[in-house]
């Protein structure tokens, strides 16, 4: 994403713009899904933007990212081109996964974005391996691994935590605790709902962070990534956040009441930052309107391009089942 800022206010404006970009993208996806233009499963990140944007501030282009099926935001802040991400939503050949991934499997190895992942917990061991490779090669990089609170109940989570801690690997575990795994509330899934405490039991520094406050996320991620990068071993951030929308486009949301959603919406990370900046005179309504319009224009263009883009020809579907060339 664009990085124009230098000073504090300019930097905050960048954060705001990045969060707004994700929100607009997600809300547009919802419309396109309802209109039948996007198919498959779509999991929106609205409400959780501060997590992806805050954590990404601590990462460099050489670091790696492993994500989940709720990964549009992670991909966008990682710098995957908007057009390529939107085309992937459409399943088009110009998409970042060539149309083979769709919403849940955005991928860009060149940008070290090792993918969305439709298997809950499936990405965690991969992150451990990426970090092990970095460590063996003696380079100081961070692998940021995103996953939800639900994933903490899976066996793969626990195997990964142990391996990373045992081998002192440079992984930044970013648990997006939005209080629900599909329709199951945190307390009904976890014997110890304090997830940072669970992680700490593996012998790694772990703490909760207000995931609705992008500056708090940025601060914590910065500290943790710095420690990871300098050989301090894996760190774990429990980013407490909330998804404003349904689990996926299908979910009737019978498991939480509207008042709860409303309460969390009052803590909207975008509004929160915008209000704070407005109060400090660092941004005006007019500026925000301009940003909105710029983002909308970029989205319009991405949607138009995605609509026009070709689908992978059926004949090429057997390509890349195996590596090309002689055995």
């Amino acid at each position: 994403m664009t990085r124009s800022g230098t000073g504090d206010a300019a930097h905050q404006l960048d954060l705001l713009r990045d969060m707004m970009a994700i929100r607009q993208f997600e809300e547009r996806c919802a419309e396109l899904y309802s209109a039948g233009e996007i198919r498959g499963f779509v999991h929106l990140y609205s409400g959780e933007e501060a997590v992806a944007v805050g954590v990404s501030q601590a990462l460099t282009a050489d670091d790696s990212v492993v994500s989940t099926y709720r990964e549009h935001g992670h991909a966008l802040v990682r710098g995957l081109p908007l057009d390529a991400v939107m085309a992937e939503m459409y399943g088009k050949a110009t998409g970042c996964s060539g149309g083979r991934g769709g919403s849940m499997h955005l991928f860009d190895a060149g940008r070290r974005f090792y993918g969305g992942n439709a298997i809950v917990g499936g990405g965690l061991p991969l992150a451990v391996g990426l970090a092990l490779a970095d460590k063996m090669r003696g380079i100081s990089r961070v692998t940021a691994c995103f996953f939800g609170d639900g994933a903490v109940a899976e066996g793969e989570f626990h195997e990964s935590m142990n391996l990373a801690a045992l081998w002192n690997l440079p992984v930044l575990f970013c648990c997006e605790n939005n209080r629900y795994a599909m329709g199951t509330a945190l307390e009904r899934s976890h014997s110890q709902p304090n997830l940072a405490l669970r992680a700490a039991s593996y012998g790694m520094p772990a703490w909760p962070v207000d995931g609705m406050d992008v500056l708090a996320v940025e601060r914590s991620a910065g500290l943790a990534a710095e420690a990871v990068r300098s050989g301090g071993g894996p760190h774990f951030l429990e980013l407490r956040t909330y998804r404003f929308r349904a689990h996926s486009m299908y979910d009737p949301e019978l498991y939480r009441d509207k008042a709860e959603v409303e309460r969390w919406r009052e803590r909207d990370p975008i509004t929160a930052l915008a209000d704070r900046m407005r109060a400090d005179g660092e941004v005006s309504d007019a500026q925000i309107t301009v940003i909105e319009a710029e983002l909308t224009a970029a989205l319009d263009a991405a949607v138009a391009a995605a609509r026009d883009a070709p689908v992978e020809p059926v004949e090429s579907l057997t390509s890349n089942v195996y590596a090309p060339g002689a055995v």
Binding site: F41, G99, A151, G183
Partner: protein, 327 residues
């Protein structure tokens, strides 16, 4: 007779089984409060309580392993795996424990566990949400593997599966959940065809078409189309994939002299391969043509926009029928 969708028929079957036997339990991710992604367990927790319809955390291995422990103590757990692609975290418990313990105990231990798996494509989802993993379990001795093709069978077979003293992998064709047929709710299961028997759905004299699950409807449509062209297709719904009802299969092939096996799963080492080998061996002198197979291609499940090219359809079935006649 009542007209029900497959989803509803399964729901009624589960309800009946729970009423008849207090040892029957349901467990899985979001099966209780939410009623399951495909509504199959809708309302059951409300009526039977949280002790009998258990929402579990995300822990597929834990779900199946726990069910084994429960079964050892006399319960009859019905586990739901939310989607085909999520069964693999539980693979170890199914293959290494569930399938082997009764044999190892010399028959002393019985593990009457049903694992329900919505499977197959056709709903515009992607990999992990559209797969046909049945043959992994067919390959594993000690498991019964069955699949229902319509609501009437769904209603009866789920109850038979629950009554069975063997572990049963119960594959539900997810794209047929909303298909409707008449179901005899009053008749009970005693009169129903046993779940390990194949059912001849259409009698014919020219070629035997074997299918199961989502392909049953497709093959019935193909048979109707072929009839108008003067070809007489015998359609057999296998229902039991392991063990196979070879008696019914062989009798039909000896009559028609031709055999086409249809499934969504990749052709390579799919159930069709096993059937082709057995039919060739047992019906060799009756065959007018080699046993032909129609199935998915040997690629990972493709993205939504091109899945219709991957999934066997009426044309591909008829094309195989034509080829069987061309020998």
């Amino acid at each position: 007779m009542t007209v029900l969708t497959l989803s509803r028929a399964l729901n009624e079957g589960l309800r009946k089984a729970m009423e008849n036997d207090p040892k029957v339990l349901i467990m899985g991710e979001d099966v209780g409060k939410l009623g399951g992604v495909f509504r199959v367990t809708d309302g059951l927790q409300k009526d039977f309580g949280e002790d009998r319809v258990m929402d579990t955390p995300l822990a597929e291995s834990g779900i199946v392993g726990t069910a084994i422990g429960l079964a050892l103590r006399g319960y009859r757990p019905v586990c739901e795996i939310q989607f085909d692609g999520f069964i693999f975290p539980a693979f170890d418990q199914i293959v290494s424990q569930l399938a082997k313990m009764p044999y190892r105990s010399g028959g002393v231990v019985k593990l009457p566990i049903v694992i329900r798996v919505p499977f197959g494509g056709g709903i515009g989802a992607v990999e992990h949400h559209s797969e046909s993993p049945e043959v992994f379990f067919v390959h594993t001795s000690g498991l019964r593997v069955i699949s229902c093709g319509d609501p009437a069978d769904g209603y009866a077979m789920i109850q038979q599966a629950i009554s069975s003293d063997d572990p049963v992998l119960f594959f539900e064709p997810k794209r047929r959940y909303w298909d409707k047929t008449e179901v005899d709710l009053a008749g009970g299961v005693a009169a129903a065809l046993p779940m390990d028997r194949a059912r001849t759905l259409a009698s014919g004299t020219d070629v035997t078409v074997l299918c199961y699950g989502p392909m049953v409807r497709t093959c019935m449509e193909a048979a109707a189309a072929a009839e108008s062209e003067g070809r007489s297709i015998e359609v057999i719904d296998l229902r039991s994939l392991s063990p196979l009802d070879t008696e019914t299969i062989f009798a039909s092939v000896r009559k028609t002299g031709r055999c086409v096996v249809v499934h969504e799963a990749p052709v390579t080492a799919g159930l069709g391969a096993e059937i082709a080998a057995r039919v060739t061996q047992e019906c060799f002198y009756h065959l007018e043509a080699p046993v032909l197979r129609v199935g998915g291609y040997s690629t990972p499940y493709p993205p939504a926009r091109i899945e219709e090219h991957y999934l066997p359809d009426l044309d591909r079935v008829l094309d195989a029928v034509d080829r069987a006649f061309a020998y």
